[in-house]
Symmetry: C2
């Protein structure tokens, strides 16, 4: 052996992390880890070096967090198992006891040496430790790798490296290289051992060299010349890569070997290259007697990766600048939603909300507030229906419009609202439809007939295309047709209406269960078990309330805070309903066996109606059953609509009294009037009956709250 032995130095690993890994880690943190800081098994890989001037790289990629390690690995790729600690805060990241974490990894490696397991699976000699803190709000990832290497009591030394060719001569070197190749990529296909980075090379009877597993050491040593081969990630002419450190300790510990020839295999086009592969004759100082035996602590470990400045410190990957801003916005928006599931509402189904399609009828104060709250909940599909344009008084109360939208006569509200959503969140799927909702009792002139029919057909189509219909208009009667369409289509209808300082927010009972045929409804105010709709408290059909409205009745004369409150509550009512296992059929809290079960109902039980009063800062929940003679949602009306379609709608629009005839309300009125006659015969116009007087004051009836 050469006398000029010097301390053997190993090229450390450098970590190389695919952006996809960070993305995946973000998801993993949000969806699986949440607040856990437990160790997560991950894996990376390295290859035998195949390029000059490229350091030893340990690579992590998207699949590194997947539980099933790719095995057998692709040719020439060595898998490395690792442990990830993702810390919850930067402070935790900074103050974690890193020595302890590293020592724990070293201990695992040491055990594989002591038990001999590493001889059977030499990949166990390589491990890595990864500490991370994911600053997901900013798409920044702080991280620190360690590649634990066990320190021998006295350093290994080696004579200067020679190339394989120089050491063996060209022919023998080629033969040796071929033996390595056939070991690592046998023609019979990858073997279990081929992902292991170390093997033996043994002189054969025919003076050739043959690869053998590490477990063959004792026998091969007895038979004759044997050396160690490694798939070497390093490409330096004088030094081996980092994995050799722990392997040499194994040789010293298990084999008690004091000299060892090591062939560091490097590749060219996937084959061992004898000209860059090197041969090292290593001197292994004998380990002290009893070193690290039994209860003793394992050897000290080292291996923290320096940062980009070459100093011992963490690195930071800032994905922000490299990401498509739209994608950045998308993940940022999802972030807050997923965070809710960490502590507050672990069973929250946020995906259900991203897919739901919401139709907003009305893009005024309520429509804007509802749309914004939907965005906050991650709802991606939002359609507006409105027939007006943005007026100068709108922007200060209708949160999707600006001064510019009012110029030149004002943009159509529906499209302006949709455009605003795109400006807020480019990934939203928003559309605006300028459309007048046909209203019962509003006279339809012959020239308008075609337009009303088209508007009705468009509205029917829109309701059919969406899952939830929000009724956010400013007149009572404009709510009739959408209420009927939602009832007939089994859609969830959420209704919000404002007074001066009071509001009503409610969900309509779902009519998905309305059978197409029903026995003759019992006359009289019988109720069903279904929850009511906006019209269920009425005993008159909706009429035109816009005729002769004064200015304050035409405008939104409401305390400005009201729309924000009612709009937000409407959306929260929707989300609570959708998160309920029974969905739109969710019973009211008093009748809900799941009420109070936080796991089943992450957003709580779902009231039927919420009424609020700003004057007293009061709010209460109410429940009302469906009215079997309701002009909007009763089985009678739904069936008539299903059977006769537009023909029926036109009749109802032109003469709302037809609805009263159909539902039996006319009869009810007659008997009510007759009753009044009995009591007060002088009241001849029949309007004395409380039930018979149409509510025509242009205010919603619940204003008397």
């Amino acid at each position: 052996m050469d006398q000029r032995k010097t301390v053997l130095q190993f090229q450390p690993f450098q970590s190389a992390i695919d952006v996809a890994f960070w993305t995946e880690l973000g998801h993993y943190k949000l969806d699986k880890l949440r607040l856990s800081e437990d160790a997560v098994p991950i894996h990376g890989h390295y290859s035998a070096s195949c390029q000059t001037d490229v350091p030893s790289i340990l690579q992590l990629e998207r699949s590194s967090l997947e539980e099933t390690q790719a095995s057998p690995s692709s040719m020439g790729t060595c898998e490395v198992a690792g442990t990830l600690y993702n810390l919850n805060t930067l402070d935790r990241f900074k103050t974690l006891d890193r020595s302890a974490a590293l020592q724990a990894e070293a201990e695992r490696i040491w055990q594989t040496i002591v038990t001999g397991e590493a001889e059977r699976h030499s990949r166990l000699l390589n491990r890595f430790l990864l500490l991370t803190f994911a600053e997901l709000k900013l798409f920044k990832f702080y991280y620190w790798f360690a590649f634990p290497a066990l320190k021998p009591a006295v350093p290994f030394t080696a004579s200067p490296a020679q190339s394989l060719t120089a050491a063996y001569g060209p022919e023998a070197a080629s033969q040796l290289a071929a033996a390595c190749d056939s070991w690592r990529a046998p023609e019979s296909g990858p073997q279990e051992t081929s992902a292991d980075p170390f093997w033996l090379l043994v002189r054969t009877a025919s003076n050739g060299m043959e690869a053998r597993p590490l477990t063959a050491w004792t026998q091969a040593r007895a038979e004759g010349e044997v050396c160690l081969a490694m798939a070497d990630p390093c490409n330096l002419a004088a030094n081996p890569g980092w994995p050799l450190r722990n392997m040499l300790l194994l040789a010293a510990k298990r084999w008690r070997c004091q000299q060892l020839r090591v062939v560091c295999v490097r590749e060219l086009r996937g084959k061992a290259d004898p000209t860059v592969s090197i041969v090292l004759d290593v001197e292994l100082p004998p380990l002290p007697e009893g070193w690290c035996e039994g209860d003793q602590s394992p050897p000290a470990a080292m291996g923290w990766e320096p940062n980009a400045k070459g100093k011992l410190g963490p690195r930071m990957a800032d994905l922000g600048p490299t990401m498509d801003p739209r994608r950045l916005a998308e993940s940022a928006v999802d972030l807050n939603l997923r965070l809710m599931r960490w502590r507050a509402a672990p069973s929250l189904g946020t995906d259900r909300l991203a897919d739901v399609k919401c139709l907003l009828l009305g893009a005024g104060t309520l429509g804007c507030a509802v749309a914004r709250t939907l965005l906050g909940w991650g709802v991606r599909n939002i359609s507006f229906v409105d027939n007006s344009t943005v007026a100068f008084s709108n922007p200060v109360r209708q949160s999707l419009y600006e001064f510019e939208d009012c110029l030149g006569g004002g943009k159509p509200k529906a499209t302006a609202a949709a455009e605003a959503l795109q400006r807020i969140f480019p990934s939203v799927n928003a559309q605006g439809v300028s459309l007048s909702i046909p209203m019962p009792g509003h006279p339809i002139s012959p020239v308008e007939l075609e337009k009303v029919a088209a508007d009705t057909a468009r509205l029917e189509q829109l309701v059919a295309e969406h899952d939830v219909v929000f009724l956010l208009m400013d007149t009572r009667e404009s709510r009739w047709l959408p209420t009927l369409l939602a009832a007939a289509g089994g859609k969830l209808a959420i209704n919000a209406a404002l007074g001066f300082d009071s509001f009503l927010v409610m969900r309509h009972g779902t009519s998905a269960s309305v059978p197409d045929v029903e026995p003759h409804p019992t006359p009289g105010p019988a109720t069903t078990t279904r929850l009511g709709c906006y019209f269920c408290n009425d005993v008159v059909a909706p009429l035109d309330s816009t005729v002769d409205r004064t200015l304050d009745q035409q405008c939104t004369v409401a305390r400005p805070g009201l729309a924000g409150i009612a709009g937000a509550l409407a959306v929260e009512l929707m989300t609570a309903t959708l998160q309920h296992p029974a969905g739109a059929a969710a019973p009211p809290p008093a009748a809900d066996p799941l009420a109070g079960n936080v796991e089943a109902l992450p957003l709580g039980a779902v009231p039927h109606m919420v009424r609020g009063q700003l004057g007293g800062f009061a709010q209460m929940c109410l429940t009302g059953q469906a009215f079997s003679q309701c002009t909007a949602c009763s089985g009678t009306v739904v069936r008539e609509y299903r059977a006769r379609g537009w023909e029926f709608l036109l009749e109802a629009l032109q003469d709302p009294k037809k609805l009263e005839d159909l539902t039996g309300l006319t009869e009810l009125h007659s008997s009510a009037a007759a009753m009044c006659d009995d009591f007060d015969e002088s009241d001849e116009d029949g309007e004395g009956g409380a039930a018979a007087g149409p509510d025509r004051d242009g205010q919603d009836e619940w204003m008397s709250l």
Copy 2:
């Protein structure tokens, strides 16, 4: 007299309305008329014609709605009294009984003839009627004028008109013109009669012509030649202006005169011009005997002004396109506010709100919601303080930001929010200040000291410059300094804080009354009669809660509807407080003698705290008294701050325990700990006392709601 007499035709008035009149009418409608359709006395004016090709114009201007008619009128100007009916709806405007309205005006004129009053004040012969419908949302004004003319039983006839010069010869004509001028604009200054459009011209003894009042008719007629003169708004060579009609009827009725020479005076540079003034010899058919006497109805009237197409119909003034869009937006925004006063809250003081200056500490979800609701209330002065930039997750929840604001690292929130307000409502006075609010317990390094001092000084200045301070931050301890500054400055502080699905909105009790010297505070949890602040429930000083916060604690993990609700309630709480006669010192509802008095409290009584829970859709109002040992608002702390300023603040910021020493809380803790020792001697670390354990979980204490 000439034989070629033909039916005399009169040039009708044309209305000319200054834009300022419409603006004034808008204000009048909103502030005074509101829903009233009562007759409103107004006035217009016309002048003797001074230009060819200009029709007879009756002018209305800004002052036309003022009650005091300008009198005596400026030279050559004839005031005309009129009646305005401003209708509430277009429908009322269309369907009003116009004949009856016109006839009522005619009756008034007729009575002045019958009683002879019109002889004393001939201006009474001219009246006008104005029907309007002000579509204030669109800045459109529908209107229809009538200039009531009484119809004689048989039309008046006249020989062809001659110019004054032609009729009298140049010299006599000039003399006659001078007589008119000295009547209308006597050198002794305007007379009571000079605003009257008619007078007599009487031949004097010296063969000159002299002006006399109409009341001189009988005497003058007896004395000799007399003719009627009028300030004629018409410039036609053959016809007189409209005012002559009713005058001729007066002559026929009162004077029973059958022929009358009329001099229609027209002017040039303010003087009667004999060349364009004309002379008419009018034949007045005798009125039927007993015509319109006693109980009889007055003569039929006519005089509706045709529209621009020359047809009988209303006109419409569309001010929208002519107005500066910014001004349009301003009046539109005021519109909704003033409308509230029509029915809902007649005693609402909206001007108080326009002038109030609001400081919003925090421009996140709450800050945005608060600012938008303030805009809705017409608040014009809004300042934001925030130290962060717009992140990608913000726009969907923070309603003043858009995707664009997040690019390039994100705009500073405070300025981005202020810019957004300008885009929404250009007349707002909004500013953004990027500033970190110093927080107790957050360590201040020596290099930071200067910045913290500067930030504190800036915050002190901002609080001093504003009337209301909104506390809308996301940490507990950032509320301490603003709470103290508001307490020391006697400012109204409104506080809003969010949990996952609960919120707290409160007003701090005002400390304007904190005396500079107070007897030693009684130790122990004595309470004052003042309402509490956010810290009054605490027995520990605020500490750094941001150290080691996990991602969900750093982000706004709240149900998205929550900020909209809490932000709106915070502003409604502010407006209700400001509308209370006691302002910030308003007692809570239970202690408020005005509670329930709608006239005194248009927005209702003012709770101290509103707590809400989205899980149960519940909300309740609470009251809590100030804590005499509060670390933020107690007299002890306020006095210490007033006395020692920054020196004291720095101590408190660096070591919050100093606050506990100052307020006597330390002593309280010791006794609490001692008590615990008594009960559980094994608990030696003294943390067993419920009062002693600092609340460091990063959640606001009210989360346990």
